[in-house]
Amino acid sequence: MSFIEVLYFIIPSAIFYAAPLILVAIGGVFSEKSGVVNIGLEGLMVIGAFTGILFNLFFADTFGGATPWLALVAAMVAALLLSLLHAVASISFRADQVVSGVAINLLAIALSLYLVKKIFGKGQTDFITERFSRYSVPVLSDIPFIGDLFFKSIYNTSFFAIGVAVFAWFVIYKTPFGLRLRAVGEHPMAADTMGINVTKMRYIAVMISGALAGIGGAIYAQTISNDFGHATINGQGFMALAAMIFGKWHPLGAMGAALFFGLAQSLSIAGSRIPIISEVPSVILLILPYVLTILALAGFIGKANAPKANGKPYIKGQR
């Protein structure tokens, strides 16, 4: 394989793997910018994947080609409801946010497997029939090289994910809502003094993170695994969390990190077919995202600073 062929092979596949990671990582950015740590991303993704597959299986005959997109909506709602549990525990009940997130993860996988066994009588669902279609952008795909690389037979969901990332950047950095969100995460008392409702902002942020994680999970399930079982998500949510940190809590940074991790994932799976890469033991590629995140946190790759009030419940009147 020549270098160009390798690029044609690996870049679209990296974008393909990155799409769910981008969405979930952006969800994490919203939650953590408001000061609520969301370890539960993994669980929210699981619920999204489960709901998406379930909806797809049950309504494929009714909605035909639109099923996968409607499944995303269903997944969004389901994950949003589950994220409310995290919001209530960590914002209103002042629970340890990490513990509450761990509980979300345990609950999500247990609940969805319980229902899978109840409905299907076995450990995993059937395979879905209606899938996302691939798509070539009309004019752009005709551009030599770049067109083949980025715009030919790409999943719509990849465009959607990148669009959401840009939109999230706009919302967080260019709108009053975003300013309030960041204020609540950096210094909730000051924000409260200025008349911002800290509790409300944090609830909204956690719900956004739930919604996006649900969509991300459903996209993963409907493009990559095509069914749902106990190992469907298997750490993707934590990888999104890593992307969020590696991207320094910035939506576009998170997107970049997610794309990079997508590349690492696709290399670890398809790398054996590529010269040079096939010499690298696959374990190196598998652990690369996690090692990089640790290095980023330790300040070897620029300093990553979390929002100041991240992880602390806000108690009115307490200094």
Binding site: F93, A95, V99, L106, K118, P281, Y290, I294, L297
Partner: protein, 349 residues
Amino acid sequence: MSNRVTNILVPLISVILGLIVGAIIMLVSGYNPISGYTALWNGIFGDLYTIGETLRQITPYLLAGLAVAFAFRAGLFNIGVEGQLIVGWFAAAYVGLAVELPKIIHLPLAILAAAAAGALWGFVPGLLKAKFQVHEVIVTIMMNYIALHVTNALIKTVSDGGDRTDKIFSSASLRSEFFQNLTEFSRLHYGILLALIMVAVMWIILEKTTLGYELKAVGFNHNASKYAGMNVNKNIILAMVISGAFAGLAGAMEALGTFEYVSSKGGFTGIGFDGIAVALLGMNTPLGVIFGATLFGSLKYGALNMPNAAGIPLEIVEIVIAVIIFFVASGYIIRLLLLRAANKKKEAK
């Protein structure tokens, strides 16, 4: 109501609420909760064999719970118990099958290898926390995945491309004929004694040594500890190392007692994450950990009986465990309600 009483009431109420939620879910999804919980009960206490297996399941939970609780006391949240357990599991199994030595040397060596591997896995986040103020939660999560992939690769190398290693030599085994005869040949092994000794070790470290005093001080307020002349960084690293060693020992229980080999894993064992639940329920005290590990270990093993005896998916127990964690974590609200109830009683008088 005294603080002590509420401290005990919060976990108890959480457990009861968790079981009630489980019953409601079973009812809503068309199962009979009474037959479900009966199956659970029989799965735990049914006969001597199940009791032996339940105790066997409790063993790693004790150590995983100790690991989480120990770090918590020093103000650290070790989510990495899972990864530390996995590397401990591998290290013990590797030492168990790589060499053949007299039991008196081999067994302690394998156990120490597991503790050392776990300690090493805990050392990294501890060091990063101490030197670069990196939050240990994220690092330990990442270390979990690194552990999973690295041990899988190592298992492949050790077993010549296979998915599981050979059995360890009997000279490194914790298996106990005495316990087996006692419990109709369950896999109950001597590890439970080691785990209970470790509970005592944790109590001694925390309550009777300067190290424990300093660790607790750092956990309460590290600025004050620093002002008092304690080496906060050293204490953070030590806390993570000791916590990791406990977790590594939990891995040794699986490697030398339950399975006597190590196989590559598609996902986590879950014991490390359940350790968080054990520690929380036990209020991070050594005695509390015994209580938490007994409860969750029993639930986990008993659940295996539910699909056969009552036709209910065993995940229902995981749901119950998750709900219990929620309620324990939201202890603030339970305390508030208890306080209100107590005040009302006073007013009525």
